[in-house]
Each structure stands twice: as structure tokens, then as C-alpha cells.
Symmetry: C2
Subunit: 406 residues, 2 copies
């Protein structure tokens, strides 16, 4: 069937789009003497146009600065190299040298031209990379790439930190007799309030597109997907989303393909964002907060984030407690126009407040909603047209325990 | 000795200033059939000038609105009535009626004129007060007041919620042969990022002062004390600080007494603010974050709050982990001017970063600092003259467990 997007998660690989290769290796970045994959390469033999979205944190890790430098050159790229376990953030000049060294080593290992690779790191902040070990691992992953490795599962493993599972998906559609494929791979799972968060996401596609068009589409889609999740309200120094488009499908991004392409890109990003939030550190619940009728989209976002980041709200979710008073308290300190006596609020479709007045007879149903692993909070401020959707998590003793030690 | 402030905490009572009475009673607001004091009255026979500072939360509890109404009348007041266990917040018109009923009952019980009492509530949000039981408790506390009760300890108990201990202190000084006394009583302990937080603080003094002068002084002092603490980053619907000045000392607030009075008021508020943060829900550490050299005081405050409210920073404190990378990450997403390569940072007086570069040889000393129940984080941004001091707490599994259930 034409004009239909085929979407898959289970057997998806970042190498599903034509012409992409991936491999991973072990540099023992964490010095744990295990065999954990921690260094990955993604490669396209045909040159790609590329786009990226990066953390807005004023403190940016060295690889983020390096990616931004590469993007600015506006030349073709061929791939990226990434390590987990060490973020190469707050590492000063040596960090910049190390990021460049990783990039150069990967280009060499893949026989790619200079300045054609992005470089990413994720993990602990403030320590220098074990560069020698990473260099060896890059070289070994490069050997696999040159021999034609197209298995993305090792790559998807190699970028993980506190994630409990890899995160990949693939969307494809047919147009004008050709198949266009978009694949993504991502990692979470703490320091997640992207804008971007300690989050990396890499997207490959075989559509033909110029970098400006693809950057514009990426900006639009990231805003409503990766940037609309929160685990702990902390925005990382390393958040990066990169997309590489190599044109191998034979189909171009144009007026007739753009709607489908954007829809497929949205599906990929939305699915990865959901995978990140639902694999948040030691969480037990994902809560979708839908705010509408706010004075502006910004007001709606402020309200959703105040609720989704409130410790008291998050702990009550963990305890299956429909404590709407804490929701309203958080809403009240959001920077937004609030007319308390106009607010409609429901858990899923069960009313909690109607025009500001509680419906306490629904209490048993509220409790049933918030006891589920997924539920939604739907708020109509009834003062305007602004809306926002945020996916948030609960806060557990496990999160505290997990993050209290190095 | 003249011009010296005498300060005491252990035997302090809100009735230390001349002419103040206090009593407490039990209304079983929590329906636990225990004997917990939960209803209190504070009374001055001589009329008082008064001032107040209230939550900036857009959702204000009924008693907050009622206090603001009373203050606006700018007439003399004689006291206040308070209950714990139920915040009378998000309770609509009935909540306003109940707040007024509490006030009227207290005025009646103390034989005080109409509109001469403040009313405060603290506790769970979104449920109606058990008014009949509270009315009886007010009447019984009124009996004690009329028979001359001046023991503040029951009153200090009656306002507590999740606090583990009462919080009182008294400062006094002599001037022109007379003694001026200021006493305060407060409660925390969750939903604490005052501005104000689920925090109540009541201050009595026997100085003679007009309400405008005392309001101005209160505003200045609260900004640097109660408003500069955070336990969980949640700002409550009920935060209230009230001061009553009855003039019984025979001394007036004037050019010669103002410096000492302000210093004494600061001591009282600062001590109560410290008692609130150090009795935060299930905390194990109090951390003073001192930011200086910021582009503005607002920048300094944004930096301090980003750090003090970061879940990852707070959990690392709990774990005695000198994870400065998380500090710098939080600093990086604060809305402030940041020149990473200029930042000086230390734990107590042990350098962590000097001009942005880490001093890893100090690591053992960092760990010693952050293992203490109190330590400071001192940051010089080296870009301007802005400064801010915030007292924050760690985040523990106990906090999550405590707040997950009703």
C-alpha cells in the first residue's frame, strides 16, 4: 500500500537504511575489566548530508563542541564514533584534543576523508578519556566496518550507560516505486530533561536531502519528542541528536515526499523518546501530562514541567497515591497564567477537578488510574489555546540508591 | 551590655515578648484518634501592628487569602489562629467560609474585636477542614488564653506536620534602658522552597512600630533567610510569615533602634530558616551554597537553586560522593552568564576547580568534606558582583518512602 508507514522495533537496526554500516568494540572505559561494548562506529560509504540538535546547557562537553564545529563546515559526512562510560565533559583543552583524536582515528579506520566524522561521548563528567584504549577499540571497530559489518545490535549496546536495554526502531515508506527507510538508536537514562538530555540519539536515512531541509525537519520533530520528556529534570552536558542522510534510496526529500518523511521521522524520534523515558533510572511509571487551553504553548510547557519535575508529585505517583493537591500546588508555581476556578483536570478520562472543583466521589477510580504503569494527566486551563505534552516518570527509592554512589 | 543581642533557642517561647499569650488544643484534624496538638492560638491583649509575607504560588490556600485581606484593612490585630493536618487549600468557596469561621471563632474565644485575627492552616491539600472539631478546639484554647496561658511550647507543637521537632528562638536587646524582645516559631518540613514554602513562621515582638516600617524590614529579612532555603524545590500553597508588634516594651522602632532590631529580626528568621532546612524530610545533610562573582544577584540565585534542586547533585551528597561534574552540569543549565574557564569552586575551603580546571589531587579531601553532615560549596563565577547564599539538603530514599504514601 502506498503512503503508509511501516514501523518496527524488535528487529530494527541502525543499518536498516541502505548503505550504512555499524560496529562496536570494547575499550574498558569504565576500568571494570568486563567485556562490555563501549565504543561504536556508524559509517556510510556514500557521503551524507547531516543535521544535529545539541544540549542547551552552557557547559557543553568537548565532543558536543566538536560536532558543532563539524556541522558548521557544511561538508559531507560519512559517520560518527561514540564511546560510553566517560562523557569527556569539563575536561578542558585536553578534552578537546581527545575528542579530535577519536574523530581522526575513526576517519582513518574507515578510510574516510578528514572532518567527515562526528564524535560523541556519554558517561561520567570531569574525567579524562582513556584515549589509548579507545583508540585501539576504534581501530578494531574500523576493521569490522571495512569488512562490511551491518549488524547494528552491538552498536546499540555500545552507547548505553545506565540504560537497562538498547533502544532502536525503524520506519519506512514507499513512494514513487522506491522505499525510504529511517532508523534510530538512542540511550538514556539519567540526567534526562533533554533540551537535549544525557541522551544520545543517532538517526540514519537513505533519503536524498540537503542539510538545511533536514535540519529544519529535525528541529521541529525533536521539539515535540526528545525535548518533551523528563526523568529527573537534569539537563546534561552531552545531549546530542544527529541524523545522517546518504541518498541511497534513490528518493529525494521534496514536496511530494516531505509529509511522509516527516511523519516517519516523527515516529522514529517519538518511539526513541518513549523508550528513553520508560527506561528511566529505576522508574516504575510513565505519566503523560497533556496541558491544553493554556495562555500560550510556553505557559502549557511550564505547567507540564512544574508537575513532571515536582519531587512530591513524582513520589506520590510511585506510591499509587492520587494526590491531586500536589499537582495543583506544582501547577500554581509554574510560570503561567492560572485561573484556579477554570481548571479541568482528569486522570486518564476520570475527572478530578471540573472548573476548579474536586469530584471526590471518583476517588476510587483515580486510584485505579494512578496504580497503572502508564496513565495520563489531562489538564485544560480554559484560558487560551496553548498546549504541551510531556512524558515524565515517578521517583523511586531505587533512583536515589542508584545515584548516591559513583 | 548595651548594643548586644542576646539570643536563645532552648528555652525560647513565642510568648517571650511582653504581652503575648499562647495556647493549643486537639481537634483530631488527622482523624487518627491520638492526642496530638493541632490547633493553636497566639494572642496579644494590646493591639498590634502587623506585617506578612506570603507564598507566591498562584494557587493560594483560603487562609492565605484571608490573611492578605486582614492585612489590607490596615487596622490593629490581636492574634492568630492556626491548625495543622489540613491546609484548607484548593477547597473553593467552602474553604473561604471555613477560614473565616476559624477566625471569627478565635476572635470570639479571645474576646477580641472583629477582623483582628489572622488564620493559618498547614497540611494536606484538597480536603475540607473538620470545622466542627476545630471550632471546639479553638474554644478550648481560647479558655486557656483568657486564663492567662503564656506557655508557647504547646503552640509550637500544634503547628507541626512532618517536622520531627518544634522550632523556636528568641532574640532580645537593651536600648535606652528598655528591653526589646523578638520571638519566632516555625514549621517545615516538606514542600520547602519557600517563596514562601509549606512553611509557617510567626514572629512576636514588643517593640512599638507602624505596620509599613515593620513590613519593609520583614521583606528584606525574609528574602535572605526563609526564601533562601530549599528541601525539595516545591513551593507550597500556604507559606506564610507573620509578625505582630504590640509595643509593650515601651521602645519604638526609630533611627536609633532600627539597626539592632533588624539584626535581631534577622537572627530570629535565619535561625528558624536553618531549623526548617535541617529538619527537612528524612535529610541527612545541610549544604550551604555560596555563589559570588556572578553577573547579577539573580544569576547567582539561579545558579545556587539549579545546584540545590538537582536530583543528581542531591543524591550524590547523600552518598558522600564529591561528584563535582554534576554540580557543573546543574550550573550549566541555570539561567545565568557562565564562563566555564573562569569558575572557581571549592568544598568548604578545599579547591575543586581553579579557573575551570580540576585539582584531582584534592579528591580525598573533597570526600572528607562532603561526608560531613554540614558543608559548604563556594563558587566564584568571576564575571561580576552578584552573590547569593542558599541552604539546601540532600535527597534520600527515606524522603521518597515518606512521601510516596498519603
Amino acid at each position: 500500500m502506498a503512503n503508509e508507514i511501516h514501523f518496527q522495533e524488535d528487529a530494527a537496526s541502525i543499518t536498516d537504511p541502505k548503505g550504512f554500516y555499524a560496529a562496536a568494540s570494547h575499550a574498558d572505559v569504565r576500568k571494570k575489566k568486563d567485556h562490555r561494548l563501549d565504543t561504536g562506529i556508524l559509517f556510510s560509504r556514500p557521503p551524507c548530508s547531516a543535521a544535529g540538535v545539541f544540549t542547551l546547557n552552557a557547559v557543553k562537553a568537548a565532543p558536543v563542541l566538536q560536532c558543532q564545529r563539524i556541522l558548521k563546515l557544511d561538508t559531507s559526512v560519512h559517520g560518527l564514533v561514540v564511546n560510553s562510560g566517560n562523557a569527556n565533559a569539563c575536561t578542558g583543552e585536553q578534552g578537546m584534543k581527545d575528542a579530535t583524536a577519536m574523530q581522526v582515528e575513526a576517519e582513518k579506520a574507515c578510510l574516510a576523508p578528514a572532518n567527515s566524522f562526528f564524535v560523541c561521548s556519554t558517561g561520567r563528567i570531569g574525567e579524562l578519556l582513556p584515549l589509548e584504549a579507545i583508540t585501539k577499540a576504534i581501530s578494531s571497530a574500523g576493521d569490522a566496518i571495512r569488512s562490511g559489518a551491518t549488524v547494528g545490535s552491538g552498536f546499540a549496546q555500545s552507547i548505553l550507560t545506565s540504560d537497562t536495554r538498547p533502544k532502536t526502531c525503524t520506519a519506512s515508506f514507499r513512494i514513487d516505486g522506491q522505499t525510504v527507510t529511517i532508523s534510530g538508536v538512542a540511550k538514556g537514562a539519567g540526567m534526562i530533561q533533554p533540551n537535549m538530555a544525557t541522551m544520545l540519539a543517532f538517526i540514519t536515512t537513505d533519503i536524498q536531502a540537503d542539510s538545511t531541509s533536514i535540519q529544519n525537519l529535525l528541529n521541529e520533530v525533536v521539539k515535540e519528542t526528545f525535548n518533551a520528556i523528563t526523568v529527573d529534570g537534569d539537563m546534561s552536558t552531552n545531549d546530542t541528536v544527529l541524523i545522517l542522510a546518504n541518498g541511497e534510496s534513490g528518493c529525494s526529500l521534496n514536496a511530494s515526499s516531505e509529509v511522509l518523511f516527516k511523519e516517519a521521522l516523527f515516529k522514529v524520534c517519538d518511539s526513541l523518546a518513549d523508550k528513553i523515558v520508560s527506561d528511566g533510572e529505576c522508574i516504575t511509571k510513565v505519566v503523560e501530562i497533556n496541558v491544553k487551553g493554556a495562555d500560550s504553548d510556553t505557559d502549557a510547557e511550564n505547567i507540564a514541567r512544574a508537575i513532571g519535575n515536582s519531587l512530591l508529585v513524582k513520589t506520590s505517583w510511585y506510591g499509587n497515591d492520587p494526590n491531586w493537591g500536589r499537582l495543583i500546588d506544582a501547577l500554581g508555581y509554574a510560570k503561567a497564567r492560572i485561573e484556579q476556578e477554570l481548571i479541568d483536570l482528569s486522570y486518564d478520562d476520570v475527572p478530578v477537578l471540573v472548573k476548579g472543583a474536586p469530584i471526590p466521589t471518583n476517588k476510587a477510580q483515580w486510584r485505579k488510574c494512578v496504580s497503572e504503569p502508564r496513565f495520563s494527566i489531562n489538564i485544560n486551563m480554559n484560558v487560551g489555546q496553548g498546549s504541551y505534552r510531556l512524558r515524565a516518570t515517578d521517583l523511586t527509592e531505587g533512583y536515589v540508591n542508584f545515584n548516591m554512589s559513583e
